[in-house]
Each structure stands twice: as structure tokens, then as C-alpha cells.
């Protein structure tokens, strides 16, 4: 649904995006992560045909960026960094205006406006001027605007940034629902937890694309899988008892805990526990270590992209 080949953008000699090669499948939620100035918004703007690439190619919804921009614009929805609503108009007037730009019929416009305002909890305040709305309500209205015309691809730039936890959950559930309806979602976010929960795959960007994969695979690539055993006390004898277990790739000893790098924690944990118990180890807990996406992200962005 989205494909880029060597997509590059310079602004007055400054490289904003460098040689971006990316594929996003239909119905996929793709989270695009990166620090401020990493080129996320520039990439989104190129894919939404708002700015032209300096070089490279891109296809969105089956059409070429640049050559078939009108076709693409008709098939995408975009939530920009700022809601960018008409403050003196009501919620209905804002949405109806955009629906007309997309060439929707009167009946379709009315149905779509009602559907999305209801889904996002704004129907009761549909006739109020947007200037009276809270930041979160404006953000929800901007999301509704991006979806009115049932776009194939939806670009969402920080969709939950202005929202309280309850509203953020509504929007996240809504995004998941969009995916189930077959929409392709290109999600730019700094909210790593949100990316972890929603995205099928994650791309980490810093002018160039550092890594693309599922969150789980990124964790594995960077850290492997580790079983953490907490004990009353860790003795040399316990470590010695683990030495015969050749499937353990690495052992880290940290106070009263052992972190063991293994390929298959589920299959190997019973053997590890048996070995430690036989060596008189008092085990308090055993669990697979989960690295947060934040750790993965900081690792990737911090070292410029190389996996450990």
C-alpha cells in the first residue's frame, strides 16, 4: 500500500530524509518512530503529496507520488501535527466542508459526519464552534476529518498527544478498529507504548531508516531473550551448576539475580530451575525479561542504528 525506493528530501542543502526504502502492507499499522527532526513529518508530507521528493520514488495506494498526486490525495486521510481546524465553524461545518472537497454526496456526507462524530464522542456538541472545544476534542475532530471519506491509507501524526488517558484509549481502540476494517495506518508517534501496543511493525528513523521490524523482533535483535532468576542469594556454586547447560549463551550475575540469555525461554526454563534447585539455590521468582520499546528505541537512536 505504501512503497518507497530511495526516497530522499533536501531542504536548502540539509538532508531531511535520506534514501528511504520502505514497504507497508495493506491493513497494516506501521509506527514511524524517531527523534524530533528525524524526518518523520517530512516523509509523511512526501507520501501525502504535500511536498515533492528531491529524489527517489514512492507509491501510495497504487499511485505514483508526484505523477498521480491527485489520485493519491483522494485516497488518503491525514492528521497533521496540529489539528488545523476552522475555529469559528462548528464541528459539523468543519467536517461537511472537507467531505465536499472529497466529492461526497449530500447523503454520504451527512452519514459520515454523524458516524465519526458519534464514534469519537462529539455528536452532542456537533453544532458548537470549534473554538469552544478542548485540545482533546479538537484532536478527535481532526481525526474524524481524516477518515470521513473512507481513505485507504491514513497518516496519523501524534494522534493521542493532546488527549487525556481516557480519550487516548478511545482513539487507540479506534485506530485498532480502523485496521480491522482494512485501512492501512501510518502512525508517527513519540509515544512508544502506543506504538508497541498498536503497531504491526515499527520503523525507527533518524534521517535514514535505522531498523524496521516487529517490536518483538527488534527486542530480540538487540537484546536476545533473557530469563531472569531472582534468588535469596547467588553463590558461585549456582553459576557452576549452570555451566553444563550449553543452551545458555550468556550469564549475567547482578546481586541476587541471574540473567540468562537463551533462545527459547519457554522450553529451557524448567531445566534451568532444576539445575539451580539441585545446587541448593533458593529461587524466589523466574520470568522472561521484557525490554521496553523505549530501551530498544534509545539503543537504536543513540548508537545511530547498529544493533548490538
Amino acid at each position: 500500500m505504501i512503497e518507497t525506493i530511495g526516497l530522499t528530501k533536501h531542504f536548502d542543502g540539509n538532508q531531511a530524509v535520506q534514501d528511504l526504502n520502505l514497504q507497508v502492507k495493506q491493513g497494516e499499522i506501521f509506527a514511524f518512530l524517531g527523534p524530533n527532526g528525524a524526518g518523520k513529518t517530512t516523509t509523511t508530507r512526501m507520501l501525502a503529496c504535500l511536498i515533492a521528493p528531491t529524489s527517489g520514488q514512492a507509491r501510495v495506494a497504487g499511485y505514483d507520488v508526484g505523477r498521480e498526486s491527485d489520485e493519491i490525495r483522494a485516497r488518503i486521510g491525514i492528521l497533521t501535527e496540529s489539528p488545523g481546524l476552522y475555529e469559528k465553524l462548528s464541528a459539523v461545518q468543519n467536517l461537511d466542508f472537507y467531505a465536499r472537497l472529497y466529492g461526497m454526496t449530500n447523503a454520504d456526507r451527512a452519514d459520515a459526519v454523524k458516524k465519526y462524530l458519534s464514534m469519537l464522542g462529539l455528536w452532542e456538541r456537533r453544532d458548537e464552534n470549534v473554538s469552544s472545544f478542548s485540545k482533546g476534542m479538537k484532536q478527535k475532530l481532526a481525526i474524524a476529518r481524516a477518515l470521513l471519506h473512507d481513505p485507504k491509507v491514513v497518516f496519523l501524526d501524534e494522534p493521542t498527544s493532546a488527549l487525556d488517558p481516557e480519550a487516548a484509549k478511545i482513539v487507540r481502540d479506534f485506530i485498532a478498529e480502523l485496521k480491522s476494517e482494512g485501512h492501512t495506518i501510518f502512525l508517527c508517534t513519540h509515544n512508544l507504548d502506543e506504538a508497541d501496543r498498536l503497531a504491526d511493525r515499527i520503523g525507527v528513523m533518524k534521517q535514514r531508516l535505522i531498523q524496521v521490524d516487529t517490536a518483538e523482533n527488534l527486542r530480540r535483535k538487540l537484546y536476545g531473550r533473557r530469563v531472569v532468576v531472582r534468588m535469596r542469594a547467588v553463590m558461585d556454586a549456582h553459576i557452576a551448576a549452570l555451566k553444563p547447560l550449553i543452551f545458555i549463551k550468556h550469564v549475567d550475575r547482578e546481586d541476587n539475580r541471574l540473567a540468562l540469555t537463551v533462545d527459547d525461554p519457554d522450553g529451557m526454563t524448567p531445566t534451568i530451575i532444576r539445575a539451580l534447585v539441585q545446587a541448593n539455590g533458593d529461587i524466589q521468582s523466574v520470568a522472561e525479561e521484557k525490554h521496553s520499546l523505549e530501551e530498544v528505541y534509545l539503543n537504536l537512536v543513540g548508537n545511530g542504528g547498529g544493533a548490538k
Binding site: R73, T80, G84, Y86, K88, R100, Y102, G103, A146
Partner: protein, 267 residues
């Protein structure tokens, strides 16, 4: 050109104007003031303008020499007619001034409210966007000018003679109001669009665009001093010329409206 998209732009722009009381005030107050002032002036001064002496100025003689049919008026009537006509020239200035405010606000204001980016992400083309915005800025300017013109005639009927009133209500000014006023307003808007594409402060755009009134004021002064005489033919020719300039400036405005530059460089 997709007309339903153009209509959507016009409808939305007009709705925003209607909901903006300050903007409505800015559009309609100056024309009404410029109408009330001459009417009030005549109401106060009455028939004391020339003291009955046709030779008091020299300009009057020159005017009668240029246009013999003016000899039918008494000196006072002639003076009233001339002064009223000078004020009528203001109705050519108004459509240049009023839409400048609306048009500059329309584009720069949109950028400042950050509503331009989602708008440009829709299938709308630059020409459709600018044409729609231009028409939406022209409509209130023309309506305000026409309203002021109507009030002017209504008021004038109370303070002058039927002969002067008939002299004012001539084909020249009908052409001016019906044809030239919208064309001048469109010229003002097109130039505002060009300026707005280059600056990102509505006040700067309005100040630069304000220079547009200079030719209209010069025209009025030339007529006042009797150096030229405006008639229906000059207005028809002027309308054709302005229409051609409108098309040219609107074309240039569309060409220099760089979506990318506006989105990435305006802060």
C-alpha cells in the same frame, strides 16, 4: 476546475466571514462612513457652496468647456454634482481596499491557524483554492460597495435637486458599479493573493496591497482638477482592461503559490 470544490471553498469562506463580527465591521463600516460624510456635508452646507458664481474656481469653467451639457446646471448644482462625483470616485477605491483585508486574512490567517496543511492534503487544486478564496473575498466587498452606493443615492435625494440626482445616476456610474466594482475587487484580491504568497503577516500584506488605491485616487484627482473627464466609454474600456489584468494576475498568483514553500518555510 472542479466547481463543487470551488463552491465548497466559497461557502466555507463566506461562513467564516459571517461569523467574524470584527471582519464584518471592517467590511461594512468604512463604506457607510464614506457615504454618510458627503451626505452630511451637503445637509449642513446646503446651497452655499459656490456663492452662485460660476467663475469662482476656473476648474468649473474648464469642466463646462470639456462637457457642454453641464451648462444646463446652475453654479450651485454644478458644484454639487462635481463634489458628489468626487465622492463617487471613492466607490472605485472601496472595492480595492475592502477585499484586501479579507483576502490577506484568508490565506495568511489560514497558514497561521495551521489549517492550510490538511486543506492542501485534499484533492483540491491550487487554482480551485485561490479562485474560491478570491470570489469569497470579492462578494462582501461588492455587496458593501453596492450598499454604500444605494445609501448614497438615498441620502442624496434628500439634500440635492432632482437634476443633480439625475446627473449622478448616469450610465457611467451604472457601468462602474455593475461591472467595474467586481473587477476592481477581483484585482485587489488577486494582488493580495500574490502578496500573501510572499509574506506571512496579514498587516504587511494589507500595507503593500494598500498601494493599489494610488491609481484610483490619482484618477479622482485628475477628474477633480478637470484634466480628464470620466464617461461611460472610459469606464467600459477601463473595465475591459481591468478584466484582462485580473485574469493575468490570478494566473500569476496560481503559478507562484508554492504549496511546498508555504508549508515548510512559513513559521
Amino acid at each position: 476546475m472542479n466547481w463543487s470544490r470551488v463552491q465548497a471553498i466559497i461557502g466555507r469562506e463566506l461562513l467564516e466571514i459571517v461569523k467574524n463580527r470584527l471582519l464584518i465591521f471592517t467590511i461594512f463600516l468604512p463604506p457607510l462612513l464614506l457615504t454618510i460624510i458627503p451626505i452630511g456635508m451637503f445637509a449642513v452646507l446646503g446651497n452655499e457652496m459656490t456663492g452662485g458664481n460660476l467663475n469662482s474656481g476656473g476648474s468649473l469653467e474648464r469642466l463646462v468647456a470639456l462637457s457642454p451639457n453641464m451648462a444646463k446646471y446652475s453654479p450651485n448644482e454644478l458644484m454639487q454634482l462635481i463634489v458628489f462625483q468626487q465622492f463617487l470616485v471613492l466607490y472605485l477605491v472601496l472595492p480595492l481596499i475592502i477585499p484586501m483585508t479579507v483576502a490577506a486574512h484568508s490565506i495568511i490567517g489560514e497558514k497561521q491557524a495551521r489549517s492550510l496543511e490538511p486543506l492542501l492534503a485534499t484533492p483540491i487544486r491550487t487554482g480551485e483554492l485561490l479562485f474560491g478564496k478570491s470570489i469569497a473575498a470579492v462578494v462582501p466587498a461588492v455587496l458593501a460597495t453596492w450598499l454604500a452606493y444605494g445609501v448614497f443615492f438615498g441620502g442624496a435625494s434628500f439634500v440635492t435637486t432632482p437634476r443633480v440626482l439625475a446627473g449622478l445616476f448616469n450610465p457611467m456610474w451604472i457601468v462602474a458599479m455593475i461591472v467595474l466594482t467586481p473587477l476592481l475587487a477581483l484585482l485587489s484580491v488577486s494582488i493580495a493573493v500574490v502578496i500573501s504568497s510572499r509574506v506571512n503577516d496579514t498587516r504587511v500584506a494589507q500595507q503593500i496591497g494598500g498601494m493599489l488605491v494610488i491609481p484610483a485616487v490619482a484618477l479622482g484627482l485628475a477628474q477633480t482638477t478637470g484634466f480628464i473627464l470620466l464617461n461611460a466609454l472610459t469606464f467600459v474600456i477601463g473595465s475591459v482592461v481591468i478584466a484582462l489584468i485580473d485574469v493575468g494576475v490570478l494566473y500569476i498568483a496560481t503559478k507562484i503559490f508554492e504549496r511546498e514553500k508555504i508549508l515548510t518555510q512559513w513559521k
